[in-house]
């Protein structure tokens, strides 16, 4: 008797938990559905005469590589803001780990949920290719952002910066700061698996070989698991192993901070230059004392905004054009499927407080 009672109680508990947990989230995803489906048909008929300026409540899903890290939290802000500004039903969903297989499952579920457009930052282009084809077959407009998917799977590929330009920026800035082009340097990277980081590093090394042939890379790129703590430890090891190290290039946002911390601790602020991709809010304290010499990145919230904007344009039958002025983002450049948001922002001690993310 007692057992039955216990079982009933648990079942009730689980059910009530589920209902209460999913209730707040379900209305926003359910309610706008009606206008979407109601307006879609007339919209397509009317399309030629009114180019949908007043905006339809399109359902757009934006999927980052993972949720819960500052970078993708910032882009979430931008994506949701775009939804608000343009009257779209934007949902920002992604796995809690940067795992391509999780993304595949979530996209399958999104297809079943019924969305109009998907902007995805794939953890792996190859793994997502079959499911993106499935999405396309289901009539969903597919774009990539932040990290490219296979070009044939997407309508547009939203890039932060010109990859080549960004790769060269590292070396140009380092040479400029060092005032010479024959220094010894090391490369810290987020992970050996990350395609975009590898792309920048490879392109940069290629560029350095031609433009600055006297630079000496002391060791292979050092992986840090996207962790500031590990970047700090690896930098201490690098400093111990190569006492004449002069420059550290940090790829992936936590790495320059970890490197700067190590440099500060070893009192090498004047002899070691640290530059790399980092977010301004996190780098203020390191820029202030000079342990970090220069940080650069793009604004991830603008990137999220641009992704949603581009999806809406495609849904309403318009094309993006080179030099187009996007509200809240700025001038974009477009070359075929490749959309580039703009040049990277560079921050120093002087201007870092002008940014907020």
């Amino acid at each position: 008797m007692k057992k039955v009672l216990v079982v009933t109680l648990v079942v009730l508990m689980v059910v009530s938990m589920l209902v209460s947990c999913s209730q707040p989230a379900s209305p926003p995803s359910e309610e706008p559905k009606a206008p979407t489906e109601d307006t879609k048909a007339p919209e397509q008929e009317k399309e030629p005469e009114e180019q949908g300026e007043e905006g339809k409540a399109w359902k757009i899903a934006v999927m980052p590589k993972l949720i819960g890290i500052p970078y993708f939290n910032a882009s979430e802000k931008g994506a949701l803001q775009a939804g608000k500004d343009m009257g779209l039903d934007v949902q920002y969903v992604g796995p809690t780990n940067a795992d391509a297989t999780e993304q595949v499952k979530m996209i399958e579920d999104l297809i079943n949920q019924g969305i109009d457009a998907l902007c995805v930052a794939p953890n792996d282009p190859a793994a997502l290719s079959p499911v993106l084809k499935k999405a396309k077959d289901a009539g969903i407009v597919v774009l990539d952002w932040d990290t490219p998917a296979n070009p044939e799977d997407v309508v547009y590929s939203i890039n932060q910066v010109d990859q080549q330009e960004y790769a060269q920026l590292y070396f140009d800035k380092a040479v400029e700061l060092a005032g010479k082009d024959d220094f010894k340097y090391a490369i810290l990277t987020g992970g050996l698996n990350a395609a975009n980081l590898n792309g920048w590093i490879d392109a940069g090394l290629e560029y350095a070989k031609e433009k600055y042939p006297n630079l000496q890379l002391v060791t292979e790129r050092v992986p840090t698991d996207e962790s500031q703590q590990l970047a700090y430890q690896k930098t201490l090891e690098l400093i111990a192993a190569y006492p004449d190290l002069e420059v550290i290039l940090g790829y992936s946002t936590p790495t320059p901070l970890g490197a700067a911390k190590a440099v500060r601790e070893k009192n090498l602020i004047d002899s070691i230059i640290v530059v790399g991709s980092t977010t301004p809010n996190d780098s203020v304290e390191y820029l202030d004392d000079g342990s970090l010499d220069l940080g650069f990145l793009w604004d991830p919230s603008k990137l999220g905004y641009l992704a949603v904007f581009a999806a809406k344009e495609v849904l309403e039958g318009r094309e993006l054009s080179d030099g187009q002025e996007v509200p809240n983002v700025g001038k974009i450049s477009v070359d075929g499927k490749i959309v580039i948001m703009g040049p990277p922002s560079v921050w120093t001690k002087e201007n870092v407080r002008d940014y907020d993310f």
Binding site: T96, N97, D99, T101, K105, E108, I111, N112, G191, N193
Partner: protein
């Protein structure tokens, strides 16, 4: 006799409880999003998604039955799949028959993962290192080898027919799900219907006593980790086909999900207790929650919280029902 009957009911009660939870969750999800959850499309994609985690979870379950754990689960799968992919790439380039290519590739994948399983088994059974430490080590080793071969990116290049294994539908049922069903049946037969299976449970209960009762525990443990290896290989084939590529970190989140499904399914993490069918229901519960909440558009962090909460609720229930049984026993010592 009566004892046995009570025990049977007790054991089945756990299963009924799980089935009830699964059913309730299914109904709740169907009610919350009627036009999207309870649809042929969604049911079919849930079947597709369940297969790989399901096969890996069964592998994890048999290891947990002996009181062990296999943290190298997904990395064994993927290292084997990477080697198989290389072989298939070469055979495609040589223009060999596609079906032969797939057959040879699959055999390579299963053979490799069998060997990887045997490596785990050797250090655990013969050297006597704790399973958690061994597999933590081999996890890094397998990942490192995989990274060295692939340089971190995904590799692919299969015959077009290979797609069918992970994405095909056979007689209306997703093909990977059919593979999963075969794996379930074979595993149940092996673990719950053979004397070898009984010795697996005995090792989990008390390895010293099992050894003293004349069972070659080393051999049994080797067998367990090799069987887990084969299952990793099968999951590796399904994943390589479903994602039409192989990469070291595919499915790295499955390790903890497999542990969750196993424990949810009624297994004791210390070994000696648990059923394959319990794990299968555990996997199904995770799938229904995951798909259902994704369709509702619930934040993924919240999904993790809900899965964790359900796990804790089920474990508490189990603890209290066991507790009650223990008290009753001590009340009537004879």
């Amino acid at each position: 006799m009566v004892e046995k009957l009570i025990h049977n009911i007790q054991r089945n009660l756990q299963l009924y409880l799980l089935l009830a939870i699964l059913l309730v969750l299914f109904i709740v999800m169907s009610v919350l999003s009627p036009s999207k959850f309870f649809t042929p499309n969604n049911i079919s994609s849930m079947m597709f998604q369940m297969a790989e985690l399901g096969v890996l979870s069964i592998g994890m379950s048999i290891v947990i039955l002996t009181g062990g754990i296999n943290l190298a689960l997904s990395h064994s799968s993927m290292l084997a799949a990477i080697l198989g992919t290389l072989v298939m790439q070469a055979m495609v380039a040589a223009g060999l028959n596609p079906l032969l290519t797939i057959l040879v590739g699959s055999v390579v994948i299963i053979a490799t993962s069998l060997i990887l399983g045997a490596v785990n088994g050797f250090f655990i059974a013969h050297v006597g290192v704790l399973p958690m430490l061994v597999t933590l080590g081999t996890r890094s080793v397998f990942e490192g080898i995989g990274l060295n071969i692939t340089k971190g990116s995904a590799i692919s290049g299969y015959p077009a027919e290979f797609d069918f294994i992970g994405n095909g539908v056979f007689m209306g049922i997703p093909f990977p799900f059919l593979i999963y069903i075969i794996v379930i049946i074979v595993s149940i037969l092996l673990i719950q219907r053979t004397s070898w299976g009984i010795s697996v449970y005995m090792i989990g209960g008390n390895i010293k006593a099992t050894e003293l009762s004349g069972i070659n525990t080393k051999k049994v443990l080797m067998g367990v980790y090799m069987m887990c290896g084969i299952l990793c290989g099968i999951a590796g084939i399904i994943m390589a086909s479903r994602y039409s590529s192989a990469r070291t970190d595919y499915g790295s989140t499955y390790v903890m999900q497999a542990v969750t499904a196993t424990v949810l399914g009624g297994a004791d993490i210390n070994g000696g207790e648990g059923t394959i069918i319990g794990t299968v229901i555990g996997v199904a519960i995770l799938q229904v929650i995951s798909s259902g909440l994704n369709i509702l558009g619930v934040n993924r962090n919240l999904v993790d919280i809900i899965i964790g909460a359900i796990l804790i609720a089920v474990l508490s229930i189990r603890f209290f029902t066991k507790f009650e049984r223990r008290i009753k026993k001590s009340e009537n010592p004879v």
